[in-house]
């Protein structure tokens, strides 16, 4: 008896091409409180979707390798430690330029692809170091510039820090919102704060960190996301990496849906950046599937999606080597960042 032949899968919807022009910046809009108030999020249903999304989608073999390469290009390679030094930052920047071993790219026929990380993310103090180290690479420097991670220094100081970072050469600014505004549902205050930060950024892109681990409910996450977008955020970002709970799929799902909602109603595209706690290649793939299915292929580009991560890259390298050689890899086989 002949073995049944698997039915062919459907053709995927046409994907965005690399030549996609960078999305125009989100100009923001006046605060619309009615819209914010009408946001509903059902936690159990969101958690169910997040849990089953992982089981509904997977990529294997060449697809997995290609997706992981894409994940590398979507990474904000980050170091945000109290013991950071110029040397450490320079090492990170060197890794950012060559995130995957050349021999592995060759083996995958991917040597010609522009495989470098999306940005290098550092404290303000190291912006200049990084800018110099990355010169000519096209990799932007992102700075966390608003009294990170608590974000509770006086607003004027935080705005000054943003301006200083931009002056030092940062093209992207990751700011933290005042959680108190979100927790007390003082949306006007949150809006004004982000608006002011966006102005301080000038041409630099602004990523607003919601610190979702401290926002208590998914509904608050959704509403804060919306307010930040109304105030002109280019990206909304989950976490500083310093909260007890960082980027989780349910949170990411809620934020992705807020971005979709905002796009549907205003036409503006806003990026998503999960950060903190994403260490395994498999998790990165889950995030990519979430973004692909909930927001669409357009979001799988560095102008609209970033991972904030430090140790993720090493696991991706190990998985790529496994794909190439068929042998499980070890961390020490890949250059440290």
């Amino acid at each position: 008896m002949p073995d049944p032949v698997p039915a062919r899968l459907i053709t995927p919807s046409p994907a965005a091409s690399l030549e996609v022009p960078v999305a125009p910046r989100n100009p923001g809009m006046p605060l619309q409180l009615e819209w914010v108030e009408e946001v509903r999020v059902n936690r159990s249903a969101v958690e169910r979707r997040a849990a089953t999304l992982r089981t509904r989608r997977t990529v294997k073999q060449a697809w997995q390798a290609a997706w992981l390469l894409r994940a590398v290009t979507l990474m904000d390679l980050t170091t945000l430690s109290g013991d950071d030094t110029p040397g450490r930052v320079r090492r990170l920047c060197a890794k950012a330029r060559v995130p995957v071993r050349r021999d592995l790219l060759d083996a995958m026929g991917a040597a010609h692809l522009p495989i470098r990380v999306g940005a290098v993310c550092v404290y303000h103090a190291f912006v200049e170091t990084a800018v110099v180290a990355l010169e000519g690479s096209g990799i932007p420097v992102a700075a966390v510039s608003t009294g990170f991670p608590a974000g509770l220094s006086p607003l004027a100081e935080r705005l000054g820090e943003i301006r200083a970072s931009v002056a030092a050469g940062a093209e992207e600014i990751d700011v933290v919102i005042t959680r108190a505004h979100a927790l007390t549902e003082n949306w006007r205050a949150l809006y004004d704060e982000v608006r002011a930060m966006r102005e301080a950024c000038g041409d630099a892109h602004i990523k607003t960190i919601l610190a979702t681990g401290e926002l208590a409910t998914l509904r608050t996450v959704a509403r804060a996301s919306l307010v930040c977008m109304m105030a002109g955020a280019d990206f909304i970002k989950t976490s500083t990496g310093k909260e007890g709970v960082n980027a989780t799929l349910p949170v990411g799902l809620v934020m992705a849906r807020a971005i979709r909602d905002y796009r549907e109603r205003t036409g503006h595209l806003v990026g998503l950046k999960p950060a903190g706690g994403i260490r395994a290649a498999r998790e990165a793939l889950d995030w990519l599937a979430l973004v692909k299915d909930e927001l669409g292929d357009r979001w799988l580009r560095p102008d609209l999606f970033r991972f904030g991560a430090s140790s993720l890259l090493n696991d991706i390298e190990r998985q790529l080597e496994h794909f190439v050689t068929g042998r499980y890899s070890a961390a020490h086989r890949h250059p440290v960042a």
Partner: protein, 811 residues
Amino acid sequence: MASIPEIFETMAYGPAPEGAGPARAWLDGHERRFGRFIGGGWTAMAGESFETLNPATGAPLARLRQTQPGEVDRAVRAARAAQPGWWALGGHGRARYLYALARGMQKHSRLFSVLESLDNGKPIRESRDIDIPLVARHFYHHAGWAQLMARELPGRAPVGVIGQIIPWNFPLLMLAWKIAPALAMGNTVVLKPAEFTSLTALRFAELCEEVGLPAGVVNIVTGDGRTGEAMVAHPGVDKIAFTGSTEVGRLIRAATAGTGKKLSLELGGKSPFIVFPDADLDSVVEGVVDAIWFNQGQVCCAGSRILVQEGSATRLVEKLKARMETLRVGDPLDKAVDMGAIVAPVQLEKIQELVRRGEEEGARRWQPSWSCPREGWFFPPTLFTEVAPAATIAQVEIFGPVVVLMTFRTPAEAVELANNTRYGLAASVWTENINLALDVAPQLKAGTVWINCTNLFDAASGFGGYRESGFGREGGREGLREYVRWEWDVAAAGKRRTRTGRRAAGKEAAAARQSRDGRRNGGRPASPALPPIDRTPKLYIGGKQVRPDSGYSLQVFDARGAVAGEVGQGNRKDIRNAVEAAHTALGWARVTAHQRAQVLYYLAENLAARAEEFGHRIAGSTGDAAGAGREVELGIERLYAYAAWADKYDGYVHHTPYRNVTLAMPEPIGVLGVVCPDTSPLLGFLSTVLPGVAMGNTVVAIPSAAAPFAATDLYQVLDTSDVPPGVVNIVTGLPGELAPVLAAHDDVDGLWYFGSAEGSAEVERLSAGNMKRTWVDYGRGRDWTDARQAEGEEFLEQATQVKNIWVPYGE
């Protein structure tokens, strides 16, 4: 194969196939031919056979045996022979075997999953993450019930040999739902899997061998409807449990009528999916995916009717369409598809035909832009908008990935539309307002209501239908009732076998004749102790005494054969009016249980005040003055008992493994017809009418024709006891005439019949029209003075149906 740079560019999904090697090796190991599993062994592969196909390709998977009636008989005899030993093994012994089956299922979970997807066409994600884990969970859960049976179900005994017929949509899961509770309660089974999907059942039979299950406890016979028919017709089967179409369920109801076979049916549905404006719409969209694109929509409880508040409809439709574009249909063994193949060409054609009909009738069809695989049997997810409730696709169960969307204005209208169906299997309610959710859930005619979720199942929660979706529950404590009998009944059955023919059939006809027959009082002077003859009661409908439509009366004779008086002869129109009155009074269900208890106590008080008069009446009819006095006393006690039960027959909160409360609420059935027993005129009437009333049903009662006065004398007692009009309606007449009218009435929700064997059979047969719940005694009778058999849970279970409401929580 696409290159890495290409995929890097497109970010497309690629193939992610689950290996089918071990499943194919298993099939090959059997030379792709299977016999049946009977009495612990495999029958030879000879005689009529058929092929089972892979729906994703149409290719044959294996050849199976069409089981003939004679072989069904062998299987039933094997099950019969095994049953006493299985029961005698005790709860712990059975628990050990069920536990072993659960473990075995987990140990071989991937083989079962792959086999299921190969044979049925469902995505491997579903068989792997949903079906098979639920199967294991079902055996674990019921291992526990076997262990606890003696303690938790006192007074109950196994039914015996169970014939189980299951559908093709959840082959192994339905097997588990049938076999686990049956075995736990000490029964043995003959199970027939659907002919499209028998493979996992056959692998399960091997598992039974592997764990050393005693021979004959589980028998698996393959075949089509003819095999099922032979099982239904077999006199050695004590109960039939069926899951499948309402059409076949109806045939089974008619075929088993009067045989005394217990019956549980889990049938079709057209379940509403209600979306209120304050719902989380993005989550609603995923809910729809889980509701109708789960298992290709081949789910009896699929949320196939979206009812959305008019103001939210446009946004929901936009979001749905966007989501449908990202669904992936294809190879069921691909780990990243959302939908697999339709089980068989015949089902695919049925779906296509109904979709065509929907378009012809003016509904707007929408399907995603991508196309389905060409080989195999696939159908794309489909949304119909601009659908009127009158449209075929809004009424008929499609059993495919097709959902219709309609709008409502108010919560009341949502409920009305939701209940505007013959079915009543499940419903889903989406709102962030718990007040609204918990207001709507009890109003929905459905056995399961999911709040902000859908298609969640668990062994601890009962699943089953209202209305034409069937009766009986599977899972949970309530599901066990289907697989047990009362010990007193088993004992009585033993005695009955030694004492035949004592109860004369047709006694009712002999005892009461129409006055127009010309028969007159036999000349005997009425005893001075009896009430005067000229009190001729009318019928009691809607709280009023009304003349019978026929204009005829029936004579009633006393114990010595003299005319004791006359009662109105009710006819079908009187029944019609009584049912309407009962419907009008259904608000009784919303009266608090405490209040219902108060009314019953008040009835007791007023009956006690007239105890002497009732005693005389009963004595007149039975000729036993001492017994009459005792009967009135017992009647008052019974009123107390049901007043007590009214606010104590609680539901449960089931421990299902999700973050939610699963509320199992006993709800009244609705309008209940009761044909009262001939024995114990007053006590028989009270014992059969009160349980329904206590639980919030409204009742149309046909009192004993031989001794109706105990019932008709109650009119005034009912009037003076604050019983709302229409809650109890009494139509005197000939039960042989009136019971069939009640049985064939589509607006009667349940019917109890305590009368002859022939009458019982007719009631069961006629009930198939609207699949009303029936409870008949097959002419066996029971001792109404013995509370053990005349009062309590057995009656309350029959007066209620369990609704499971799933309420997830979490802020």
